[in-house]
């Protein structure tokens, strides 16, 4: 796989990836990730998750089960939350993709990131980026006011540490404020 970011901030890792071997069946695709355009050549087997982590080196999105069962890989595509592990990157040519890196920074956190921090809504943190991407999408989805409805719409994000109580509290705090 190779990447040729056309944005101004090409990192050394992105340049190194561009030199890697490209299979003969590789196809050109353009992704807009966190507002930046990336022109890539990818093996069609490349999932959006592997493209984000390995090609574009945005490693905030996590690989848990890699089979659509855990939600750790949740990102937004054209504003909707999806599982990047069950999606080929090639399908998303021209799509607008948002990852946890596009949501906020340590200095200017998204309100949901801030709420996860203040509510201690994680322990190991591995599922957290997926939880937050799901939670941010949930803000715009039809969801009733009760905790039970939040739990139902968050059921695709598994937390093995069991931080669920604080995750729901964090989400509800943001929902009450907006």
């Amino acid at each position: 796989m190779s990447s040729t970011p056309t944005g101004a901030n090409t990192t050394p890792m992105q340049k190194a990836a561009a030199d890697a071997a490209v299979p003969a069946i590789a196809i050109p695709i353009t992704l807009r990730i966190n507002g930046e355009e990336y022109s890539l050549r990818l093996d069609p087997r490349t999932t959006l998750l592997d493209c984000l982590r390995e090609t574009v080196t945005l490693t905030g999105t996590k690989k848990g089960c890699d089979h659509g069962q855990c939600g750790a890989c949740t990102v937004h595509v054209n504003g909707l939350r999806v599982l990047s592990c069950l999606s080929f990157a090639a399908v998303h040519d021209g799509d607008e993709i948002t990852t946890i890196e596009g949501l906020g920074t340590p200095d200017t956190m998204h309100p949901m990131q801030e709420a996860f921090f203040t509510h201690d809504a994680y322990q190991c943190g591995y599922c957290t980026s997926g939880q937050i991407m799901s939670a941010v999408a949930l803000l715009k989805e039809p969801c009733g006011p009760d905790d039970a409805e939040v739990k139902e719409l968050m059921s695709g994000n598994i937390c093995r540490c069991g931080a669920y109580g604080n995750i729901v509290a964090a989400i509800q705090a943001v929902r009450r404020r907006t």
Partner: protein, 332 residues
């Protein structure tokens, strides 16, 4: 995952003519249409599916959800499960469908999965997903280890000595009760397939799950005009409260006048090798009073002939209580 060629057909005709080159549209198909990918990509990662060509049909203009001239509903093949579940007309007139979809999978998967992909999600079990094990569906003639193995969640209706896998769809149970029609275009033209004729019992060919032939493309599904005043319920019973397949589910569409049931459509999920409509239960209910004893009688009819495996005998009574409770909820 095996290597494949990825293309995006320019139009429906190109998609169909390429797919028609596959020897089969069933297990082992050489050419696969790609919708949301939530089943196909999972199975390709497991090497259970290994198409040499994948046709991305997501950008064909097949994602509309709109009224039909007879005031029914046309649901485009690539419309997303979440778009269908939250569609105002579906929530108002076909609420059993909205309820079923929203009790299936997770929010992320519902945003990805297409309606046609849900129709074609594989009837499957853990042995089908594991290439280290025998499986008549994956490799015909190798045997069915589920029959002597883990079968707690598997089928009690429609199974054969060759396959006892359950159809896992919730959406399909509601569509069976709503008497949907599946519209297919293939190399020989277009045809309409009543929902009840679309899925095949496993018999001795469990690798053939539907009537689809090479090149057949589901273009849309239609629902008949809504039944005024009908009461609709989808009830799903499962091991976890959310994001879990049904152990038993029931879709119920009832119309009641002067204390009598004038129209009944009943389908069950989680217990059959295909979405399981029950004309026998419908017959018991139609013309009957809305009473607990009639509900139980309908449930007995629906599960008549159910055959338990070594671990799932409990599903027979569970399914009966599921249907009885769904009927009770519908009339309350």
């Amino acid at each position: 995952m095996h290597s494949f060629e990825f293309t995006r057909p320019a139009d429906q005709a190109a998609a169909i003519s390429t797919a028609a080159q596959s020897k089969t549209a069933q297990q082992g198909a050489d050419v696969r249409f790609l919708g949301g990918g939530t089943t196909l990509i999972d199975l390709m990662k497991l090497n259970v599916e290994a198409p040499s060509r994948v046709l991305d049909i997501n950008r064909l203009p097949l994602d509309k959800i709109e009224d039909t001239p007879d005031r029914g509903l046309m649901i485009g093949a690539t419309s997303r499960n979440s778009a269908l579940a939250y569609h105002p007309k579906v929530q108002r007139d076909y609420s059993v469908l909205s309820q079923a979809i929203l009790q299936g999978a997770s929010a992320q998967i519902r945003n990805m999965a297409t309606v046609a992909g849900n129709l074609l999600q594989r009837t499957r079990c853990v042995y089908f997903r594991d290439t280290a094990m025998a499986c008549n569906k994956r490799e015909p003639g190798t045997g069915c280890p589920a029959i002597t193995g883990h079968n707690r969640t598997l089928a009690i209706l429609g199974a054969s000595e060759h396959c006892i896998a359950t159809n896992p769809s919730d959406m399909c149970v509601a569509m069976a009760a709503l008497e949907a029609t599946i519209h297919v275009t293939g190399p020989k033209g277009s045809r309409e397939i009543p929902f009840g004729d679309f899925y095949l019992l496993p018999g001795d060919t469990p690798h053939i799950e539907t009537v689809l032939e090479p090149g057949d493309l589901i273009t849309h599904v239609t629902l008949p005009p809504p039944i005024p005043g009908s009461k609709q319920v989808y009830l799903k019973l499962r091991d976890r409260a959310s994001y879990e397949f049904a152990l038993a589910s029931a879709a119920v569409v009832l119309t009641i006048a002067s204390g009598k049931i004038t129209h009944a459509r009943i389908a069950l999920g989680g217990i059959g090798t295909r979405p399981w409509r029950s004309p026998d239960a419908e017959q018991v209910l139609t013309g009957s009073a809305e009473s607990e004893s009639n509900f139980r009688r309908a449930a007995e009819e629906a599960l008549r002939g159910a055959k338990p495996q070594s671990e799932n005998g409990f599903k027979i009574e569970l399914a009966k209580r599921c249907l009885t409770h769904a009927l009770r909820t519908a009339v309350s």
